[in-house]
Amino acid sequence: MKSRITRQVPGRGLGLPGLARAGALTALALVSACKEPPTTRRMPDSAAASRGLALIDKVGCGACHEIPGLDWPKGRLGPSLAGFDDVGLIAGHLPNRPGTLAAFIRNAPAVKPGSTMPPMPLTEEQAADIAAYLYGIDND
């Protein structure tokens, strides 16, 4: 039942099997080859994203996660969120969609029973803003 805390590369930390990740990347590359700008896949609202970063700072998500754009803290208890928009599944389970992500941020154990990520003191709108920011992280 217990998962060890690991300091691993981000992809593995999220429990995404290497093969599936490679496949997803290939698929993504194919898709982006025919579509115009790859960022249109999910178009985060930039105002929301900047509100999201401020909230991340204020709430202290960095205590557990390394998050691009956040100088400090860079906690290592949870997985790094670098390259988050490329991740197919949240916590290895849930489809990586804005609504789901926001719900997960706000109350992870409710969305995914057994998650060790605790509920966060955030409103729904705030969680949505943070989700918007996380989708804006582009490490490609």
């Binding site: 039942m1 217990k2 998962s3 060890r4 805390i5 300091r7 700072d57 204020k58 709430v59 202290g60 998500c61 960095g62 205590a63 557990c64 400090w72 803290p73 860079k74 906690g75 290592r76 208890l77 949870g78 060790t116 990520m117 605790p118 509920p119 966060m120 003191p121």
Partner: protein, 344 residues
């Protein structure tokens, strides 16, 4: 959050109490003086270098030195000195012994806070957070457990060093409720940069509630917030007061967290009143769940940050004495964090 306490307007120029207020007036006058004198010197230099000959001739003699270098500074300095000394006098009026007393001990790299009764006995322990009522002068007994630190809440007062082997006294008073940030101002090695705390000023009624919530029984004979006498704002507690009962019932994960806290080593350094955790090296965690910050004023305090702090405090504040518990499974850390967050 503490983030909001800094920045604009600069705390030094944004007083929240009678002591800092007078200093702020002095600061503005001094700034104006500095600006005016700088302008005078710059204009004089301009005349000396590029100015018309008639002005140059007036400036180019010993008279300039007598007026500009002796008479003018003499007057300005004398006035400032008299004002500064009078202010020093009024800010350091003797302590009557009737003020509310709180002891703050500088430790590498956090602040131990102990609320004292009017006999000087500790009635409640805390860390990195000082709660005071507004419009009541509070005398802080400052000392240090290791090296020299310095206590500074710019909104409320100037700073005072915390020196091992000595107790220094600092009076603070807030005239409006609010949350005011503070820092250690004397270099104390290692992560000195991340050693902060918050001072919370409450309306007196609210402060009283806060004290009551913490099981500090207010004695009947003493009315701490009467019009004049604020002596022993925290009243005498009998020595045989029963240990405080943690406010929330211990069930489920939290119960497991409590057991873990006792078994994995936390209890050796931390104290939680009413439990067997009795360590004195680290901050007292009896009311940790109600504190605004973690890690000496650097992180907001909630379940998530508590987990991150326990799991890898060294990544957040390198060099501190608490090790990272990164060998523990996340579930265990979550359980402990849950229990700690219940310690309101």
């Amino acid at each position: 959050m503490i983030d909001a306490l800094w920045g604009w307007p600069p705390p030094v120029l944004d007083p929240a109490g009678p002591y800092s207020e007078r200093v702020t007036i002095l600061a503005w006058v001094l700034l104006a003086m500095a600006l005016v004198v700088t302008l005078i010197v710059v204009i004089a230099l301009w005349i000396a270098v590029k100015g018309p000959d008639s002005l140059k001739r007036k400036l180019g003699g010993e008279k300039t030195v007598w007026i500009g270098g002796i008479a003018f500074p003499g007057v300005v300095l004398s006035v400032l000195l008299v004002w500064g000394l009078m202010m020093t006098g009024s800010l350091s009026e003797p302590i009557t012994g009737k003020e509310m007393r709180i002891r703050v001990v500088g430790e590498m790299w956090w602040f131990r806070v102990q609320y004292l009764d009017n006999q000087g006995r500790v009635v409640m322990d805390g860390a990195n957070e000082i709660h005071i009522p507004t419009n009541v002068p509070v005398v802080l007994e400052l000392t240090s457990a290791d090296v020299i630190h310095s206590f500074w809440v710019p909104h409320l007062s100037g700073k005072k060093d915390m020196i091992p082997g000595r107790v220094t006294l600092l009076r603070i008073e807030a005239d409006r409720p609010g949350v005011f940030g503070g820092v250690c101002a004397e270099y104390c090695g290692g992560p000195h940069a991340l050693m902060g705390f918050v001072t919370v000023a409450h309306e007196p009624e609210e402060w009283k509630q806060w004290a009551v919530q913490r099981n500090i029984a207010l004695g009947e004979a003493i009315e701490p917030f009467g019009s004049v006498d604020v002596a022993g704002a925290l009243p005498v507690v009998d020595d045989d007061v029963p240990p405080r009962i943690p406010p929330t019932p211990i069930v489920g994960e939290a119960a497991r967290g409590r057991a873990l806290f006792m078994s994995v080593g936390c209890a050796a350094c931390h104290r939680v009143a009413g439990t067997e955790a009795n360590g004195l090296a680290g901050p007292d965690l009896t009311h940790v769940g109600s504190r605004r910050t973690l890690g000496a004023g650097i992180l907001p305090n909630h379940l998530g940050t508590m987990m991150g702090w326990i799991g890898d405090s060294q990544a957040i504040k390198p060099g501190i004495r608490m090790p990272s518990y990164d060998r523990l499974p996340a579930e265990d850390i979550a359980a402990m964090a849950m229990w700690l967050e219940q310690q309101k």
